[in-house]
Symmetry: C2
Subunit: 162 residues, 2 copies
DNA sequence: ATATTTGAGTTGAAGCTTCAAGCAAAATAC
DNA sequence: GTATTTTGCTTGAAGCTTCAACTCAAATAT
C-alpha cells in the first residue's frame, strides 16, 4: 500500500501536531456538550439555525445552507426533518426553481436560537477567545486560513458574499 | 434560559472564530476521509492502533487507551470489538486485576498500522505542517496548549512522563 | 417535440457514537 | 468475615451521520 519513504515529522513538528490534534478532537466535543446541555441542540443544528437567522427572510436553499453549516446535503436534509418536527424550521418549495427547497426559520426557531446563542458565545469566549491574547487570535486566524486553503485549494476564504 | 447581557464577539474576534470553527469542522473530516480511503480505518481506530504500537508489549489497559485516544470507554469497547473481529487487536484479562482488560496489538494489526501510517503522516504534512512556516507551527502549538488548558484547567500538557 | 443528462433533495439502511443500565472484581466499611 | 461501595468494563438501544439509490424538475441535445 506504500511506495515511497515517508517524510516523518520532526520532534518539534510532532509536538505541535500532538497538541493540535488533541485540541481539534476535544474542542468540538466541549462545544457540543455545552450546547446539548443548555439547549438540546448540537453544533450542526445550531449552525443551521444561526445560518438561517442571518439570511434574508430567514430563508436559505438547502444546498446553500449545507455549505454554510459545513455539512452534506443528506445530513442537512435529515437534520431539517428533525428541526421541522420540533417546529424550529419549515420547508418551502422554491418558487422559480421547482427542484430547490427553501428552509425557513420559524418564529419559534428564532426564539430558540436567541435563547441558545448567549451561552454558546460565552463558551466560545471562555475556551478560545479569552484564553488567547489578541495577537494570538490574529495568528490563529492566519493559520486557519492557510489550513483551509490547503484543504480546498480552489476556495478563497471567507466566501465572498457579493 | 439567559440571565446576563452576553459579551458578543468583536468583528476581529468573529473573523478569527469563523475561520477557526470552519477549520476544526473540516480538518477532522479531511483526515478521516484519507484514512478511510487508504486503509479503511477511521481516526479513532487509527489512534487506538497507534497508541498500542507505542506501548510496552503493544499492550494497554482499556481505560488508559481510551484516554490516549481521546474517547469514552464505551466507544473504545465497541471499537475494540470491531478491531478484534478484523484480527488487529486481541483482548486479554489483566493478570493482577481481574476487573481490567488489556488490549493487545496483534502482528496483523501492527502491519496494518505500518501500512497506514505513511499515508496519514503525509496527509497531516500536506494539510497542516507544510502549509505553515516553522514560526506559525510554534505559535499554533502555544495556542493549542492554552485552549487545552482552558478546557481542562487541571491538566498540564503534554502529560508529564517522569 | 422528445430523449438524455444534469441538478437539487429525499429516503432507508447500515455504521458509528452515546447513553443508561448492568455485571463482576476489588476495595472499603462494619 | 460479610455487606457495601467503587472501579473497570461491556452491552443493547437510541440517536446521528454516511452511503447509495432514487425521484422529480430543469437544462441540453437530437
Amino acid at each position: 500500500m506504500n511506495r515511497d519513504e515517508p517524510r516523518w515529522l520532526s520532534a518539534s513538528e510532532l509536538e505541535a501536531w500532538k497538541a493540535f490534534s488533541a485540541m481539534i478532537i476535544k474542542l468540538p466535543a466541549a462545544l457540543d456538550a455545552q450546547l446539548r446541555a443548555d439547549s438540546g441542540l448540537n453544533q450542526f443544528e445550531y449552525l443551521v439555525l444561526a445560518g438561517l437567522s442571518d439570511a434574508p427572510d430567514r430563508t436559505l436553499r438547502m444546498s446553500d445552507l449545507a455549505v454554510l453549516a459545513n455539512g452534506s446535503l443528506s445530513r442537512l436534509s435529515h437534520v431539517v426533518t428533525r428541526l421541522e418536527g420540533q417546529g424550529y424550521v419549515r420547508r418551502e418549495r422554491c418558487p422559480g426553481d421547482g427542484r430547490a427547497t427553501n428552509a425557513v426559520l420559524t418564529e419559534e426557531g428564532f426564539r430558540k436560537l436567541a435563547d441558545s446563542a448567549p451561552g454558546h458565545v460565552e463558551q466560545v469566549r471562555s475556551l478560545v477567545v479569552d484564553p488567547l491574547d489578541p495577537e494570538q487570535l490574529e495568528q490563529l486566524r492566519g493559520i486557519c486560513l492557510q489550513v483551509l486553503q490547503a484543504m480546498d485549494p480552489g476556495l478563497s476564504w471567507p466566501p465572498s458574499r457579493h
